[in-house]
């Protein structure tokens, strides 16, 4: 049901995304893929946000920029995403379907269309400013490209320090710029955008650590924030990745991390938990040790919040195998030793004794605060901490229809949860706007492709100067001359900036004028520029795969800056290699396959139903397959969520909507028997209890098979009726069981069936569940003693308020150490609980409760094990499905067309399942909304005559793109799934498998060319 907001034409098929961090980037890419025009607005000069400043990300320890910049490049090259930087949103008027967004555009003083980011201007700029990208730990010039991977990759001028702008002097940059991009005439202006929806992803403000005066941030040189430390760890940071301290630049040995700085702290007005600091401190400790093995990190914490997928393992490994020391107890104050500038930290140790320990450097794990002005600018309600007030079941919904919020601005959270919310927001927006899908897209029109088959290769070679980046360090004309003399080269020329707009036009003309049928550009990296030049070649009527790049910047001029002769020689060799390959390149086709515009959702729980409704809401028919006779899944056992929302009512409403929707076909009591096909063309065989089979055809699959509840046999559960699970207690609470009022003493035990040998993960929801129920018990029976025995309390994010409320209500929290589980016994008819209180030095405590409540964990669905091979997707060691990429693709699988949500992925709360389901539906929608799936040209092909059918490539392919053809007894590549990674080609001993565009003869020719050039 699409919104008809205006009287005339229906909703506007465009969306504004406010904030260009990872959330905004993800939402933009998703929306563009769904067919909407996107305005990506950011107040800083480049997209990338905080993630762009991180060195590594947990729990995979991958380089942050390495996984983010490809997405940034994708945004840059998508003609339907308009990136508007240095812009502030002033107000949003109108309503869903037709908003008018007012923007204030601040002047950059550089023309983005002309600037190529070469950096010549910065070289000549005399004014310096503290570099915000390096957390102000180093200086940069007043005119500069914010960081190397910036998008837009253009410079900007800081108006407050610029000598021309403030005093009318200097102007060096304008003189140095060979593209004439400096423009001091720019002024602030306003603009209005018309969009159908707004997605707010403004991120967070880091807590100002100087507010915690006892830590001496800003006073003691060697006390830094986690963001500053992240820059210190980064290879492109102020210390080039050396872990040295600010006061004297010496290497650090004893490193302390202090958690919860600005979080869980009512004295600074932030009672909530920032959710990510426990994990990021662990990561920083590990990475610091990786840089310098002699570092001894200590993390001072209250509770270790390792509640996400794979976090517990990460934490355990850090403690047991990588030498990170975890000390439970916060530091009360930091004092500085004046001679050495070392820090003295005062704290209570595990035995309750006051200790003082000396460290070389201290990192404050600062919390995440809400961005400012959200409520004013977007006219949405915010909570007492300034985060967007949201629907307790659908957190991305703000208080205003059509304005969706994602990421830390909604609640502090990590990257995968942000990416999931951003994707979900795109999907939710699409549900409202889908009748305007595609209405505002621009599509590039190209002339027909000329058939170059049979022609002699005529290679055009463009040598780029890149301003002075290349031109200043090697003899470009000499390289041009050399290129002109190479066999096969019909045209060689140089250009100051090969990547500029006007250069594309010039290249196109050159190709046509000189009848070129191959193109080589010798410039920078194909990672950022290959798509651009391929498009240019195509616009000249030549197949885009007849293009090759030689990197004579990153691989040459930038690393051989002081040796111009050698650099020139190397550049010539690199060009020769590229030309040799180019001569052997052949046009490649992009295969197409049809898409069946129907979805299939496996599992009819909260996640499955939401995904189904979402797809149907976007106009697609969906099959919902549920193995039980009833819909609802595990949520049927839950009565209330943490915010007090009525889960049963929510579930009933969901079921009613699913069963009432025409586009949805519900198949209860059906199991999946077999799945074949691939993205766009799946065939799923389902079977009911009577064995009757039905074949379903669909273009995408969403796996929402849910999870289970751990069934305890310990703690007398099952043998004593007074021992219950939290869900059983919740049922009684909801029914207002009168016996609950008589209770004198209740003991709750956490981590039952979680964080143990068999299930070493955290079930994430149990701490919140227990605290919620404890509060409910106290409300019902205020004089009852409620004890909660725990290992860590993981009430992350805004749930921390519940924990504080519980303490204030008199719930007693007692900690037991890992390995010292409580005992539950029966003595003369009474229950007895024995526990060693770890905060009292292990003092044994005996309790005689009326009830013992077990907080049982979430288990993986055993069905996953048989479904996974059918779907050709993997599961992790704990039995949950394994997504394509833990950080940036949390609902995808490596296998195209299959998506994941809910407990099938990992333990999570109901609202998190809902969000993930909306995200999975958005991803599925991006497949279904196309009329065909277009494959890449660079794919593997199998020479059937040479293939022996050994099956090696079938086993190796990470994308399940290679199958064994039983009839022909050879391997077959599905080009729709093939990603061109080349693994099969490299593994094939018979040389039957070849990667198009990277054939052996092509690569060998490059090697021979290099060798020959060297000999010459």
């Amino acid at each position: 049901m699409s919104v008809m907001a205006s009287r005339t034409l229906g909703p506007v098929g465009a969306v504004m995304v406010m904030g260009g961090g990872v959330g905004g980037i993800q939402a933009s890419l998703e929306l563009a893929g769904l067919g909407y025009k996107v305005y990506l607005v950011d107040s800083s000069p480049s997209i990338g946000g905080v993630m762009g400043m991180l060195d590594k990300t947990f729990p995979t320890n991958e380089c942050s920029m390495c996984i983010l910049s490809p997405k940034m490049v994708e945004v840059a090259s998508d003609e339907n995403i308009e990136v508007i930087t240095l812009a502030d949103v002033l107000g949003v008027e109108g309503e869903e379907g037709d908003f008018r967004v007012r923007l204030r555009l601040r002047p950059r003083y550089v023309d983005v269309d002309k600037c190529t980011g070469c950096g010549d201007c910065s070289e000549k700029c005399p004014a310096r400013i503290p570099d915000p990208y390096n957390a102000k730990l180093s200086e940069t010039r007043c005119i500069r490209v914010p960081f190397p991977q910036a998008v837009p990759g253009a410079a900007l001028i800081d108006p407050d320090t610029c000598r021309w702008i403030t005093k009318g002097k200097c102007g060096n940059c304008a003189k140095a710029c060979q593209a004439g991009a400096v423009d001091f005439g720019q002024r602030e202006r306003e603009e209005t955008l018309r969009v159908g929806a707004v997605i707010a992803a403004p991120g967070y403000r880091p807590f100002d650590a100087s507010r915690k005066t006892e830590y001496g941030y800003g006073v003691h040189a060697n006390v830094v924030t986690s963001l500053e430390f992240e820059r210190i760890l980064a290879a492109n940071g102020p210390t080039l990745g050396r872990v040295v301290r600010p006061s004297d630049g010496r290497e650090v040995r004893k490193l302390a991390f202090i958690q919860c700085v600005g979080s869980r702290d009512v004295t600074v007005g932030n009672g909530y938990c920032s959710g990510v600091c426990c994990m990021y401190a662990t990561k920083q400790a590990l990475m610091a040790k990786e840089h310098l093995s002699s570092i001894e990190p200590t993390i001072f914490f209250i509770d270790m919040r390792a509640h996400g997928k794979d976090f517990e393992k990460y934490y355990n490994d850090a403690a047991s195998r990588h030498g990170v020391r975890y000390l439970r107890g916060l530091v009360s104050g930091i004092r500085e030793r004046q001679r050495t500038k070392n820090l003295l930290l005062r704290f209570l140790d595990a035995d309750g004794r006051m200790r003082e320990e000396e460290f070389d450097m201290v990192v404050l794990s600062i919390g995440l605060e809400a961005p400012l002005d959200m409520s004013e600018v977007l006219e949405i309600k915010t909570n007492q901490y300034g985060f967007a007030a949201s629907d307790s079941f659908v957190p991305i919904r703000s208080s205003r229809e059509g304005v969706l919020v994602c990421g830390a601005a909604q609640e502090p959270k990590d990257i995968p949860d942000t990416v999931t919310q951003a994707t979900a927001a795109a999907g939710l927006a699409s549900q409202r706007l889908h009748c305007a899908r595609g209405s505002l897209l621009t599509r590039r029109e190209h002339p027909p492709e000329r058939d170059v088959g049979g022609e002699e290769p005529r290679v055009g070679v463009i040598i780029c100067r890149c301003g002075s980046n290349i031109g200043g360090f090697l003899d470009v004309p000499a390289v041009v001359d050399y290129a002109a003399g190479l066999p096969g080269v019909a045209f060689a020329a140089e250009r100051i900036y090969a990547c500029s707009q006007d250069a594309q036009e010039w290249i196109r003309q050159a190709v046509q004028e000189h009848g070129l049928n191959r193109l080589v550009v010798a410039s920078c990296t194909p990672r950022t520029h290959q798509p651009l030049f391929r498009e240019t070649l195509r616009s000249a009527g030549i197949n885009k795969y007849l293009f090759e790049m030689a990197n004579i910047r990153e691989h040459c001029s930038w690393v051989h800056m002081r040796e111009p002769e050698k650099a020139t020689r190397k550049a010539k060799h690199l060009v020769r290699m590229a030309v040799e390959k180019a001569r052997r390149l052949e046009p490649l086709e992009e295969g197409e396959s049809a898409v069946v515009p129907r979805g299939l959702v496996m599992g009819g729980g909260v996640a499955g139903m939401n995904a189904t409704l979402s797809l149907a809401g976007a106009g697609f028919p969906v099959y919902l397959v549920e193995k039980e006779e009833e819909l609802g899944g595990l949520a049927r056992n839950i009565r209330f969520n943490a915010a007090g929302g009525d889960v049963r009512a929510y579930l009933e409403d969901l079921i009613r909507r699913v069963e009432g929707e025409e586009l949805i076909t519900v198949l209860k009591g059906h199991r999946v028997k077999d799945i074949s096909g691939f993205v766009g063309q799946f065939k799923t065989l389902v079977e009911d209890k009577q064995g009757r089979e039905t074949l379903l055809e669909h273009g995408a699959v969403i796996v929402a098979t849910g999870g289970g509840q751990y069934q305890p046999s310990e703690y007398l559960y099952g043998s004593d009726v007074r021992v219950l699970t939290q869900w059983e207690l919740e049922e009684r609470l909801a029914e207002e069981d009168p016996s609950l009022r008589e209770l004198k003493r209740v003991v709750m035990i956490q981590c039952v069936g979680s964080r143990d040998e068999e299930r070493p993960y955290c079930s994430k929801v149990c701490c919140t569940e227990a605290v919620k129920n404890a509060l409910a018990l106290k409300r019902l029976s205020p004089s009852a003693d409620v004890y909660l025995l725990y290992r860590d309390i993981r009430t992350y994010g805004l749930r921390e308020d519940l924990y504080r409320e519980a303490r204030e209500a008199g719930v007693v929290f007692a900690r037991f150490a890992d390995g010292e589980q409580p005992e539950v016994l029966e003595r003369r008819g009474n229950l007895r609980v024995k526990v060693k209180d770890a905060d009292l030095g292990g003092e044994p405590v005996g309790l005689e409760p009326d009830l013992v409540i077990l907080s049982t964990g979430i288990t993986a669905n055993p069905d996953n094990a048989y479904l996974a091979p059918l779907l050709k997707v993997p599961c992790n060691a704990e039995g949950f499905f394994l997504e394509a990429h833990m950080k940036l693709r949390p609902v995808d699988f490596a296998t195209d067309g299959v998506f994941l949500c809910g407990l099938a992925h990992a333990p999570k709360s109901i609202e998190e399942s809902v969000t993930q389901a909306l995200a999975a539906a958005a991803r599925a929608e991006s497949v279904l909304c196309r009329d065909k799936v277009v494959a890449e040209g660079v794919v593997a092909v199998v020479d059937e005559e040479r293939c022996s059918g050994c099956g090696m490539c079938v086993r190796l392919c990470p994308f399940e793109a290679v199958t064994y053809d039983g009839e022909k007894k050879v391997a077959a590549v599905n080009t729709s799934l093939c990603k061109g990674c080349g693994t099969c080609a490299a593994a094939c001993t018979a040389g039957a498998s070849r990667l198009q565009g990277f054939r052996s003869d092509q690569i060998l020719s490059q090697i021979e060319a290099a060798a020959a050039a060297w000999r010459d």
């Binding site: 005066t213 006073v219 104050g333 500085e336 004046q338």
Partner: protein, 290 residues
Amino acid sequence: MKSFSFYPGCSQLSSAREYGVSALEVSQKLGLRLNALRGWNCCGASSAHMTNHLLSLALPARNLALAKKTGDDLVVVCAACYHNLRSARARILEDGSLAARVEGILGADPRFEGRIVHLLDAVVEEVGLERLRDMVSRPLEKLRPVSYYGCLMARPREMMDADDPDNPRRMDHLLAALGAEVRPWSYKTDCCGGSLSLTRRDVVAELVNRLFEAAEEAGANCMVTACPMCLANLEMRQSEARLRFKRRHDLPVFFFTELMGLALGLEDCEEWFSRHLVDPRPLLSPYTRA
């Protein structure tokens, strides 16, 4: 410059007489108009709160009532009196029925709403550091003090109005304006054990020892304070510390007003310095000989 009411406090007349005298003389020299409250009484900072709750409020409240009548802001010299007057005022202003009770006892309205300012802040705000610098005739170049504010001026955070409860800077800036080489250190507001000075000398010895060790590590040759209790404690217990920890400190401790007097060229200062338990005169000889 505006005029202030002035609350001297008991120690100014006796055990910290050098503080009292120097404070008044320096204020006069700087042109700060301080009018002592007529009929002021002991504020009860040392023992009243352990004796009788109401008494501990009524004693300072009587002074607040006196201050209220003058209509001026109130300057206090002793850190303990300062703390006590502020906290009593806060309680009275927030609890109406309590205020009424106290008013009944005193026969006067104690709801003083003017500012209660420490002399240190009054100098910095009213006189200004620039003016102070200009008036210095004997810059204290060879002095390397650490500023010791003590706990009472900094905590509780919400009540005390310090520029930074863990790293206050006013005294540091003031001493720098006098030409001294102020040494940075982290113990500015650490407890000296003053309230246990008579009952738990072992605890005090440890706390005092730690302060002096830190001061020496910071390269200081003296300590400067604004609290008479602290100074007494710091001076008296250095020998205790020496006994227990076998470390000799012998670090002179000054009131900031004494050093101000010295730098401003006041004649009487020699007399004040003779009253100290740890003789500061050797350290000050470069200045006093002239």
